[in-house]
């Protein structure tokens, strides 16, 4: 992981005129629309809220995946980085870290606010935040992988969704379950271990795969 790269990406995001907020905007809009669609009845929404918030996170993440490497392919920065001391693996790790900060962390911060809108007890809110936090590495890494494969081919945003959906499903399953379990057993719930495991395995597979995809797309 390279700090200069991470700082550079964050600087670029700050100057992008808010483009990095796409995921967050979608998150808010999706939950608002869901609440409206469900009739705004707190009793109906409360049991569904953890699942809906998790769903909102997964979908917002999917939206922002394709932009991760898009500009690096477009402006030729990727080739320059390949011929530098930074390995493609290190690049992918740095991108994942920057992606976490720009795209996932805002969602983890926004989730409690959304939870308030659903009138959730504070235990559930903590459950949501913790489950998202444990899943965040996997989410970031699969996003980096999808973006590395897509190489900024704009027309295929849907391919990003196809590529990542199968791997995001276990995250969704354990994530939602973790929220329920947290209320009962706190952080010792097995679902958190499962999420941590998924994040570790996801990183171990996804980062080298992303690096391989980057190299393949430079050929």
């Amino acid at each position: 992981m390279n700090m200069s790269l991470i700082k550079r990406d964050l600087k670029l995001a700050a100057r992008s005129g808010g483009a990095w907020l796409l995921g967050l905007a979608f998150f808010m809009v999706f939950l608002t629309l869901t609440a409206i669609a469900l009739g705004g009845d707190a009793n109906v929404m409360r049991p569904l809220a953890p699942a809906l918030i998790w769903l909102a996170v997964i979908l917002s993440a999917m939206l922002s995946f394709s932009s991760v490497f898009m500009s690096d392919y477009a402006d030729g920065t990727l080739e320059q980085l390949k011929l530098s001391k930074i390995s493609m693996l290190s690049l992918c790790a740095s991108k994942a870290a920057a992606y976490f900060i720009m795209a996932i962390a805002p969602l983890i911060i926004a989730a409690p606010i959304a939870a308030l809108a659903f009138d959730l007890p504070s235990q559930v809110v903590w459950g949501i935040c913790f489950s998202l936090f444990f899943a965040a590495p996997a989410l970031s890494v699969y996003g980096i992988f999808a973006s590395a494969v897509m190489a900024g081919r704009g027309a295929s945003g849907f391919l990003v969704i196809l590529i990542t959906a199968p791997f995001l499903i276990p995250l969704l399953i354990f994530g939602v379950a973790a929220v329920d379990s947290y209320v009962q057993t706190g952080l010792s719930a097995p679902e958190f271990r499962a999420l941590a495991g998924l994040s570790l395995i996801g990183s171990a597979i996804g980062l080298p795969a992303a690096a391989a995809a980057l190299n393949a797309n430079l050929e």
Partner: protein, 248 residues
């Protein structure tokens, strides 16, 4: 054996005799298997005749997973050695594999209707197979979208390997999820008992499906190998290269 077959000429010689063998085994297998399954095997005391769908459904699901394993192996070979035949093989495995997955889902759904009174049930197995179908579709989409097929092969092989490692994870998570959410009465219609009357048609169908997969794949690989060979023969000569010193 893989390295032996890697030479296109040797592969073609192998395919010329192997393909009809697979075809014949498949044909005999299906005729025998379907006879045994539909006519000669017993009814289930609970499900009646509908249990017979199992003989179509279970081998299809098994074959779908076996096909993906073959696809992942071919992808690994393709990624490490950059061998065109491995690329062709991986792609060739994907189409029947996806078809078997779809067949498994459809027959599973048809089996579900009389058994559970619903066409779809989010049980562990069906959900995992559905996700497997998504993976196949994504794999084929990568091939379809990227115009340069060598490039497509490379990206597809990376995706296939990531998918392969994730399949047990997906299966585990879906089974676990399902064990929480599904009431016990809705357990998936499994093979009722393992008497030889059940096993014989089941195994026959398994062999038939596998032979069918082999036959379809070999035909597709042969077509592509021949196409690649003729393309290479018709290929343009390429630019002439000269290197000379430059005077000051």
């Amino acid at each position: 054996m893989i390295s032996y077959l890697a030479n296109p000429k040797r592969y073609l010689r192998f395919a010329r005799y192997a393909t009809p063998v697979f075809g014949i085994v498949a044909a005999i297998g299906f005729v025998t298997g379907l006879y045994l399954a539909l006519l000669a095997s017993p009814e289930d005391y609970q499900q009646g005749h509908t249990v017979r769908i199992m003989y179509v459904h279970v081998p299809a699901a098994w074959c779908a997973q076996m096909a993906y394993t073959a696809l992942a192996m071919a992808s690994l070979v393709s990624f490490i050695w950059r061998h065109t035949l491995a690329d062709i093989a991986a792609r060739a495995f994907a189409v029947p594999g996806a078809a078997f997955t779809f067949l498994a889902l459809v027959t599973g759904s048809l089996w579900g209707k009389p058994t559970w009174n619903t066409y779809w049930q989010w049980d562990g197995r069906m959900t995992s197979v559905l996700i497997l179908l998504f993976i196949y579709i994504a794999y084929l989409a990568i091939w379809a979208i990227i115009e340069d097929k060598k490039h497509a092969a490379r990206l597809a092989s990376i995706f296939a390997m990531v998918g392969f490692i994730n399949i047990p994870i997906i299966k585990f998570s879906v089974d676990w999820w399902n064990s929480l959410h599904q009431p016990a009465t809705f357990s998936s219609p499994g093979a009722p008992g393992s008497s030889s009357e059940i096993l014989l048609p089941l195994m026959t169908m398994m062999v038939a499906y596998t032979a069918l997969f082999g036959w379809l794949s070999l035909r597709q690989i042969t077509t592509e190998v021949l196409r690649a060979q003729s393309a290479r023969k018709r290929q343009n000569p390429g630019a002439k290269v000269t290197i000379e010193a430059v005077d000051a």
